[in-house]
Amino acid sequence: MYLGFVEGLKYVTHHRMGVVGLAILAFITVLAAFPQLFTPYTPTQIFEQTFTPPSPKHPCGLDYEGKDIWTQIVYGARASLIVGFLATILTIAIGGVIGVISGYYGGVVDSLMMFVSDALMLLPSLLLLIVFATLFREGFIVSKLIGAGRWTLWDTAVVIALISWPSTARIIRAQVMQLKNMPYVDAVKLLGASPSRIMFKHILPQTTPLLLSRITVLTPGFMVTAASLSFLGLGDPNTPDWGYVMYTAYANMLAVVMNHNWLWIVLPGLLLAITVMGFICVGEAIDDYLNPRRRW
């Protein structure tokens, strides 16, 4: 397992797209981890002017509240990455458990779970997310727990996971259905292992490579979904992600046009696009590694 991981990492670092992707992700991670290095201000700091054009002190100008836009963009990296990763981890957890259970037991359990996953898969996830975020403006599960009193980033991540597990569950289920007929599973069964032990100790670990490659597929998608939600004005203004910065830019389009402040529009989206591209590149490299037929 460990050896396979090292070999995979080696393959990715020697893959043309993999290197580009890793470099991009490293840059974004630094941006998210140490935003203080890139800006002297904090995102909540309010200056006296509003809507100023770009200047040496404020490279992207100030927004309608007098907040520095470049600072918001830099700090937005953290919010966007957190929501993407959290949603991915939750999705993989839910999808993995449901996939293993329904693949292992089959029968009625399987049919029921696949029926529900069918319904969720057919509905556009962004629309469902909008339904949740709009109807529960006063906060959903997590915000209720921490008493935030409004929809927060954590809610976005949780709801994304609640509606996006079906695709992961299906992939895991297909894999489990192959694995459960392997001789080693029969051997473990003869040794008297309980079904839950077989499922989670002996079958689920075998799907780890698949789950790892799911991360690179799901995370960028979720980051864009969360940003779309923020862009529609349903985001969390206290922890602005890139989508929220673009929402304020769009809401103040006329000021942007008059100040020629195109950096306000271009930068957050560009960073988001670059991040997505980094994930896709790494994902392609991992895919090539997992599928030896494609290693030329």
């Binding site: 029926f115 319904a119 057919l122 509905l123 556009p124 996830s125 529009i265 591209m277 494609r294 030329w296």
Partner: protein
């Protein structure tokens, strides 16, 4: 007997999909009932309604129904289509008149984006697979990759800012205002207005599958039957277009059909950016106003559109590939 197998397959699929449809609508209805608030709260708070009037309105518009009874009404409305005859408490108009023009707008947008996107995806996928390893492949692949990475709404904002506001090449609003009698004028004008949203939305369609298509083609190219065809002396392009494509297209078609739903999700964002009067905007505003009849009817239309296209794609797939029918 292929005919009988096909009929059974179709019936079981359609029944299954009807069940899915009911489940989806039930989910949305229950969600909306669980959420706090009604469209009349604001008027009550402003003092424009008395408490009795408020209570009367709530019971009139079905906000006080028992959950089970309300659900029954919704499912009954789904099958008798009386869902569309309901009146929106916010607009005070029957839903059918609210939806009709917007549905045509959105369907036009989504279909155009779908066709454009899938054509681009398949053609570029073919092109990159054919020129595998060349410099041309890398250029095309990297540009397609960048295009794919752009968030829809950001692309829309870039278009709006650089092409509409600064450049002045395209109109700011995406719906045509001109009602000329000259049909050609009208069509040209309509295209002029709709071209930017369509380009934006098309990236959600099959460009996403570019890599899948390319990888599938490359997997196929190393399989035995391709080697045989090569040995027989067929041209590479003929092998690709006639034999490999035939293997690849059915699963690709099914994948794309399932993802038609994502286009409707993306349509909300695109319509917001371009101020395009479509279903996406309508749903967004209706959810915001807790205008349940409109939300239910709009979701019903979208779910129906997605389910019909998926079912057709699955039946086509089963027709093309008989192995599928037995496993269901």
């Amino acid at each position: 007997m292929p005919g009988r197998g096909m009929a059974t397959y179709i019936v079981s699929k359609v029944l299954h999909r009807l069940g899915t449809l009911v489940l989806i609508m039930a989910l949305i209805y229950i969600l909306m009932r669980l959420a706090p608030g009604t469209p009349f709260d604001e008027y009550l708070a402003m003092g424009k309604l008395t408490k009795e009037q408020y209570e009367y309105l709530l019971s009139k518009w079905g906000y006080k129904d028992n959950l089970i009874v309300g659900l029954g009404k919704v499912i009954y409305g789904m099958f008798t289509l009386s869902l569309f005859k309901m009146v929106s408490p916010v607009w005070n108009q029957p839903i059918i008149s609210l939806v009709s023009t917007r549905l045509i707008n959105t369907l036009g947008l989504v279909l155009a984006a779908y066709v454009l996107g899938s054509m681009l995806g398949v053609l570029i996928g073919l092109y990159t697979a054919r020129h595998h390893g060349s410099i041309r492949e890398s250029v095309v692949l990297w540009s397609a990759l960048m295009y794919r990475s752009l968030p829809v709404f950001w692309l829309g904002m870039l278009f709006l800012y650089f092409l509409s506001y600064v450049g002045g090449f395209f109109p700011f609003t995406a719906s045509s205002e001109i009602r000329t009698s000259n049909m050609l004028h009208y069509i040209v004008d309509w295209f002029w207005h709709v071209i930017l949203p369509v380009i934006c939305l098309s990236k959600l369609a099959a460009v996403n599958y570019l890599f899948t298509i390319r990888n599938m083609i490359m997997d196929e190219m190393s399989s035995d039957y391709v080697t045989t065809l090569r040995a027989v002396g067929y041209r590479e392009s003929l092998i690709l277009e006639k034999y490999v494509m035939r293997h690849i297209l059915p699963p690709v078609i099914t994948m794309m059909a399932i993802d038609i739903g994502f286009l409707f999700g993306g349509a909300v964002v695109t319509e917001t950016v371009f101020n395009y009067p479509g279903m996406g905007r309508l749903i967004y505003e209706a959810i915001w106003n807790k205008d349940y009849p409109v939300v239910l009817a709009s979701f019903y239309i979208i779910a129906l559109a997605v389910i019909v296209s998926v079912t057709i794609a699955e039946i086509l797939y089963a027709y093309l590939d008989p192995r599928i029918r037995s496993t269901g």
